[in-house]
C-alpha cells in the first residue's frame, strides 16, 4: 500500500523525492521487509531527519538511495527515487557512479572504517576530486586544503600527509565529512555520524555541519536515533518504525506536539536534563520481528491507543495541518 507523499509542490525546490521505496533482504524461507513503502522528500537547502531505532529501516533507506546495499541478498523491490531530475533506481551504474561521491556525499557512523589506513589523508581527500573532475594533483591539493580548513582541521597543510590513525576520532569524522564535501555535493547522507563520538566532540560536529550547510546550501538527510541531535539540526523529521514512516513534520511540531503514539512514547521515555521524573515512561514489549510483520500497524503490540483496525490495516496519511502527516487510526483517519 502506498503512503501518501508529503504535500510539497513538485518543483525545483525538491532535491530528493523518494516514493514508495521497498527494499527486502532474502533469508531462508522468507524475506525481511527492511524498507516497506517509504516516501519522503528533501528540499534544497534543508536538513531532514530520519529517526528510528535499530531495525527501523533508516540505514537501509539511505543505502537504497545510493544503491549500495550491503548484502547480496538485499534488493530494492520497488519504488522511485528522483534526485535532481534523475530517477536513481533505474539509472545505469555509470550514472550512479557519478552521483555517488560527487552529487551525493555519504558520512557513515564509523569514520575509521571509511578511511583507508594505508593511504594518507591528503590522497584520500584528493581521490574523488581527481576521479570525478580529472583534476591535476596540484589543483586537487588546493581544494583539499580548502575543505580541511572548512571542517576546521588545525594546520591542514602539515597534516595532509598524515595517516588516519594519527587523528583523533572526532577529527577523523570531520575528515570523512571533508571527503564528501570536496565535490560540492547537493545532498549529504549522514548515517549516525555522531553516535560513536564523545558528547563534546559531537557538539562540535553538529555545529560544523550546520555552518557548512548554511554556507554551501547543500541539503542533508540526517539518520539518527538521538532526538536531541534531531532537535538541534533538522528542519523537518520523518519518524520510522519497522520499515515504514509513521509520522512526518517540522521539527518543532514533532518534538513539541507528537501525534503518533510511537513518537510520543519515544519522547516520553528519553530522560532529559532538567526534566525531573520519578519513573521513566516505558514502552511495553519489544522491537518488531522484521521477518514477520503484521499486515496492519507494526506498533500494535506496544501501542496504548490500539484498536482492532490497527491490526488489520496500516493507517493512511492524515495531515497534521502544518505540511506533515501521521499514520495512525487513533489520530483522525477514519
Amino acid at each position: 500500500m502506498t503512503q501518501a507523499v508529503p504535500d510539497v509542490g513538485r518543483d525545483d525546490d525538491v532535491l530528493l523525492q523518494v516514493t514508495d521505496l521497498r527494499t527486502q533482504i532474502g533469508i531462508k524461507n522468507g524475506v525481511v521487509k527492511a524498507v516497506d513503502g517509504v516516501s519522503f522528500d528533501v528540499r534544497r537547502g534543508e536538513i531532514v531527519g530520519l529517526v528510528g531505532e535499530s531495525g527501523s529501516g533508516k540505514t537501509m533507506t539511505c543505502l537504497s538511495i545510493i544503491r549500495l546495499l550491503p548484502v547480496e541478498a538485499a534488493r530494492i523491490v520497488s519504488g522511485e527515487i528522483w534526485f535532481d531530475g534523475t530517477e536513481l533506481l533505474s539509472a545505469p551504474e555509470k550514472v550512479m557512479r557519478d552521483v555517488r561521491g560527487r552529487q551525493i556525499a555519504m558520512v557513515m557512523q564509523d569514520a575509521l572504517a571509511a578511511l583507508n589506513p594505508v593511504l594518507t589523508v591528503g590522497d584520500q581527500l584528493a581521490e574523488p576530486l581527481r576521479h570525478h573532475f580529472g583534476w591535476s594533483r596540484v589543483k586537487a591539493r588546493d581544494r583539499v586544503l580548502e575543505v580541511l580548513e572548512a571542517v576546521r582541521i588545525p594546520r591542514p597543510a602539515e597534516r595532509l600527509d598524515e595517516y588516519p590513525h594519527q587523528f583523533s576520532g572526532g577529527m577523523r569524522q570531520r575528515i570523512v565529512a571533508a571527503m564528501g564535501l570536496g565535490t560540492t555535493p547537493s545532498l549529504m547522507l549522514a548515517d549516525e555520524p555522531t553516535t560513536a563520538l564523545d558528547v563534546t566532540i559531537q557538539a562540535q560536529f553538529l555545529t560544523l555541519i550546520k555552518e557548512l550547510q548554511e554556507q554551501t546550501g547543500m541539503s542533508v538527510l540526517w539518520v539518527t536515533h538521538d532526538l536531541g541531535v534531531v532537535a538541534q539540526t533538522c528542519d523537518r523529521v520523518n519518524v520510522m518504525y519497522a520499515g515504514r514512516i509513521v509520522e512526518t513534520g517540522s521539527v518543532r511540531r514533532i518534538l513539541k506536539k507528537p501525534l503518533h503514539p510511537y513518537t510520543n512514547a519515544l519522547l516520553e521515555s528519553v530522560p532529559a536534563i532538567g526534566v525531573k521524573r520519578e519513573r521513566l515512561y516505558q514502552i511495553a514489549g519489544h522491537p518488531p520481528d522484521l521477518a514477520n510483520l503484521p499486515s496492519g500497524c507494526a506498533f500494535y503490540e506496544r501501542c496504548p491507543l490500539r484498536m482492532d483496525i490497527c491490526r488489520e490495516q496500516f493507517p493512511p496519511a492524515t495531515p497534521d495541518g502544518e505540511g506533515g502527516t501521521v499514520h495512525c487510526w487513533a489520530v483522525g483517519g477514519s
Binding site: 533469508i27 531462508k28 524461507n29 522468507g30 525481511v32 535499530s54 531495525g55 519489544h286 522491537p287 518488531p288 520481528d289 522484521l290 521477518a291 514477520n292
Partner: protein, 291 residues
C-alpha cells in the same frame, strides 16, 4: 537488525546448514571407516596371504581377472581389495592415535598459553613456532631412521606437529575469549582460573577444535601415506595405502591397479574429510549466529 530477525533467521540458517549436510562425503567416509573396522569380516582374503602363482592378476573387469580377486593382486599375489580394506585400519588408527595424543597436549598448551598471556605465553609460542617451521616429512625421515621403523615411532614423531598446530589455533582463540566481557564478569563473580578455562574458554573454543581436528585427520592420512611411500612409514608387510602405492610404482603403465586403488582410497578419504571439515566450520561458526 532486530532480534526477531535474528531469532527466526538463525533458526533457519542452522536448519539450512543441516540440510546442506554433505551427504556423499559423510557416506563415503562412513563406508570406508566401517569397512576398516569390520575388515576381518568383510575382506575376502587375508591381507598377508602370499600366492606367487597368482601374482599381478588384473581386476575382475579385465580379461584374465576373476571375481575372486575383485581388484586384482599385487606382486606377491596378495589380494588388493583386502589390503586396501586393511590399509584403512592402519591409516585411520594412526591418524586417530596421533590426534588423540598430539591433540590433547596441544589443546592444553594452547589454553594455558592463551589464557596466561605475557612472558610464559611468548616462550611457549616460540617453541610452538619452532616446531611448526620444521618440514614434517624430512624430520620424520630422520627420526624414523634413528628410532627404527614401527607404528609407535611414526605416532611419536607426528604427534608434536599436531600438538603445535592445535596449540597455535587454540591459543589464538583463548586470547580473544579471555578479553570478552563474560570472562571479566566471571572473574568479578570470583571464579577461579580453572573454572574460567573449563566453563568459559573451552566450550567456546570447542567449535574450532572440532574443525581443526577434522582437517588434521585428512592431513595426517596424507602424511602417513607419504611416509610409507618413502619407506619410512609403518613397516611392511602391514598393508598401508602409501606403501601399496609405492609397491606399484614400477607397474604404473602396465599394471596400474596396484597403485590406483590404494591411491583412490587415499584421495576419497582425504577429500571427504576435508569437505566435512569445511561444512562443520560453517555450521559451528558463531558469527553465523548473528544476521
Amino acid at each position: 537488525m532486530t532480534i526477531g530477525v535474528g531469532r527466526t533467521a538463525r533458526a533457519r540458517s542452522v536448519g539450512g546448514a543441516l540440510r546442506r549436510m554433505p551427504i556423499i562425503p559423510i557416506f563415503l567416509l562412513g563406508a570406508l571407516t566401517l569397512a576398516a573396522l569390520l575388515a576381518p569380516f568383510i575382506a575376502p582374503h587375508p591381507p598377508l596371504e602370499v600366492n606367487l602363482g597368482n601374482a599381478l592378476a588384473p581386476p575382475f573387469y579385465h580379461e584374465g581377472g576373476s571375481v575372486d580377486h575383485l581388484l586384482g593382486t599385487d606382486r606377491l599375489g596378495r589380494d588388493i581389495l583386502s589390503r586396501v580394506i586393511y590399509g584403512g585400519q592402519v591409516s585411520l588408527l594412526l591418524a586417530f592415535s596421533v590426534l588423540l595424543i598430539g591433540g590433547t597436549v596441544g589443546i592444553v598448551i594452547g589454553l594455558l598459553s592463551g589464557y596466561a598471556g605475557g612472558r610464559s605465553d611468548s616462550i611457549i609460542q616460540r617453541g610452538v613456532e619452532a616446531i611448526l617451521s620444521l618440514p614434517t616429512i624430512m624430520v620424520a625421515l630422520v627420526f624414523v631412521f634413528v628410532l627404527g621403523q614401527s607404528f609407535a615411532s611414526v605416532v611419536l614423531i607426528l604427534a608434536p606437529f599436531i600438538a603445535a598446530s592445535f596449540a597455535r589455533m587454540v591459543r589464538g582463540e583463548a586470547m580473544t575469549i579471555r578479553n570478552m566481557n563474560y570472562v571479566a564478569l566471571a572473574r568479578v563473580a570470583g571464579a577461579s582460573h580453572t573454572r574460567i578455562i573449563a566453563r568459559h574458554i573451552m566450550p567456546n573454543v570447542a567449535g574450532t577444535i572440532i574443525v581443526i581436528a577434522t582437517l588434521e585427520v585428512g592431513a595426517l592420512i596424507l602424511v602417513e601415506a607419504s611416509l610409507s611411500f618413502l619407506g619410512v612409514g609403518v613397516p611392511p608387510p602391514t598393508p598401508a595405502w602409501g606403501l601399496m602405492v609405492d609397491d606399484g610404482r614400477e607397474y604404473l603403465t602396465t599394471r596400474y591397479w596396484l597403485s590406483l586403488f590404494p591411491g583412490l582410497a587415499i584421495v576419497i578419504t582425504v577429500l571427504s574429510i576435508n569437505w566435512i571439515g569445511d561444512w562443520l566450520r560453517n555450521v559451528l561458526d558463531p558469527k553465523r549466529q548473528e544476521l
